[in-house]
């Protein structure tokens, strides 16, 4: 093989650059900075979300889209959860009425995963609890 040292050096350099995000984030400790959600201490609904936490974790965006379509396009405002509880469908008022600290709840996972939902460009985030 001609120029073996150069080729091997090139391969090593390529791998190093291509995997830069992985080892850089590992070295800087960013990977260990996992989401730390602060759940609301809410007495309003007895510390219970609209649907169970497991569903909300992976599919809250589906529920929000469904609420958006029901409210805006169908003019329906009341959501009845499977357990019979009824809620006014509103991200800004109902969801954020309990989850009063966006930075300690929404942003935790969204930032970690690099997701940038544009809810907050219009919907007003709460000013935070006291």
């Amino acid at each position: 093989m001609f120029d073996a040292p150069k080729v091997i050096l090139g391969i090593i350099l390529f791998v190093a650059v291509a995997t830069f995000p992985i080892w850089f984030n590992g070295a800087s400790g960013k990977v260990d900075n996992v989401p730390n959600l602060v759940y609301p201490d809410s007495t309003v609904y007895g510390n219970q979300c609209v649907l169970d936490a497991a569903y909300m974790k992976h599919s809250h965006m589906d529920l929000l889209n469904q609420w958006r379509d029901d409210v805006v396009r169908r003019g329906e405002r009341i959501y009845e959860a499977p357990d019979g509880r009824r809620y006014v469908m509103s991200l800004q008022n109902t969801c954020m009425g309990c989850h009063t600290e966006k930075a300690k709840f929404c942003d935790q996972c969204h930032d970690y995963l690099g997701v940038k939902p544009y809810c907050w460009q219009c919907h007003i985030e709460p000013q935070g609890s006291f």
């Binding site: 809410s42 007495t43 309003v44 609904y45 958006r68 805006v72 396009r73 003019g75 405002r77 009341i78 009824r86 809620y87 006014v88 509103s90 800004q92 008022n93 109902t94 009425g97 309990c98 009063t100 544009y118 460009q121 219009c122 919907h123 007003i124 709460p126 000013q127 609890s129 006291f130």
Partner: protein
């Protein structure tokens, strides 16, 4: 004295509870998760319409109604008229009703200021041109609705509306709402973002809670009436039956649902 022992004990009890609960009570009050019951009694109609009596309309009404609407819906105020965003606004009679601009119009109407808003037309041209169906006429009550999630900012609807009822957010509206003071935003209603068209929605968010539109509620002279045009016993039908009314640019065939009594 009307302040009886029973009342005093009630008040004392509540004060003590609040005092004991301390921070907790403040937090509970701060959390405003909306209650369901008001939404179970919405105001409904087959075709919403508004009747504005220009004979009774006062300058105080102009200020009250516009302020109420702007505060309710977080409508931004821009210094540059090219950036203007308006839901309800005032205009001269001659510009409001171009076809009624007779020679020697009565002095009262020559410089009359007329409140204008979206006419919620029966045959709205704006909805026909919207490529994303971000605006449409609700079949159930005739309100020309907007879905700000879906608006792509093409501004076809602005070109199509013959009444200037639609405004485009050329700039980020947030710093221009209530002087850019976040504490003065209406936190129960969203703002819009740059690149989105907005307009009056006949306060459908209030109707769904059984409340009349904000401008109607704010109008102290009672010059604004709001009701169901399909209901022969409604206030708007009585007013239209008993008075001569005009509408803006009726010749265009849009069938506006805001009537003016002159």
């Amino acid at each position: 004295m009307s302040f009886e022992r029973r009342e005093f004990l009630k008040l004392a009890g509540i004060s003590t509870l609040l005092g004991l609960a301390g921070k907790g009570s403040v937090q509970a009050l701060a959390q405003k998760v909306p209650e369901v019951p008001p939404y179970e009694r919405p105001l409904t109609a087959k075709r919403w319409a508004m009747v504005i009596d220009l004979r009774r309309w006062t300058e105080q009404d102009s200020r009250d109604c516009i302020r109420a609407c702007n505060e309710m819906h977080n409508v931004p105020q821009f210094d540059n008229p090219k950036d203007e965003v308006k839901w309800i606004w005032m205009e001269d009679f001659e510009h409001s009703f171009p076809s009624q601009e007779n020679h020697f119009l009565s002095a009262e109407y020559h410089h009359k200021q007329v409140p204008l808003l979206c006419n919620h037309c029966d045959n709205p041209p704006c909805t026909r041109v919207c490529p994303t169906q971000a605006t449409w006429r609700r079949e159930q009550d005739g309100i020309v609705m907007m879905d700000w999630h879906r608006c792509i900012g093409c501004r076809y609807c602005i070109a199509a509306c013959p009444y200037g009822s639609r405004s485009f957010n050329w700039r980020d509206p947030r710093p221009h709402i209530q002087g850019g003071d976040p504490n003065r935003l209406n936190r129960e209603f969203p703002t819009r973002e740059r690149g989105v068209v907005e307009k009056c929605t006949f306060c459908e968010e209030r109707l769904s809670q059984g409340r009349p539109p904000a401008c109607v509620e704010a109008c102290r002279s009672g010059a604004m009436a709001f009701g169901d045009l399909e209901d022969p016993n409604s206030e708007v039908r009585h007013l239209l039956h008993e008075n001569y009314s005009i509408r803006r640019k009726p010749g265009l065939g849009t069938q506006p649902e805001v009537y003016y009594l002159v």
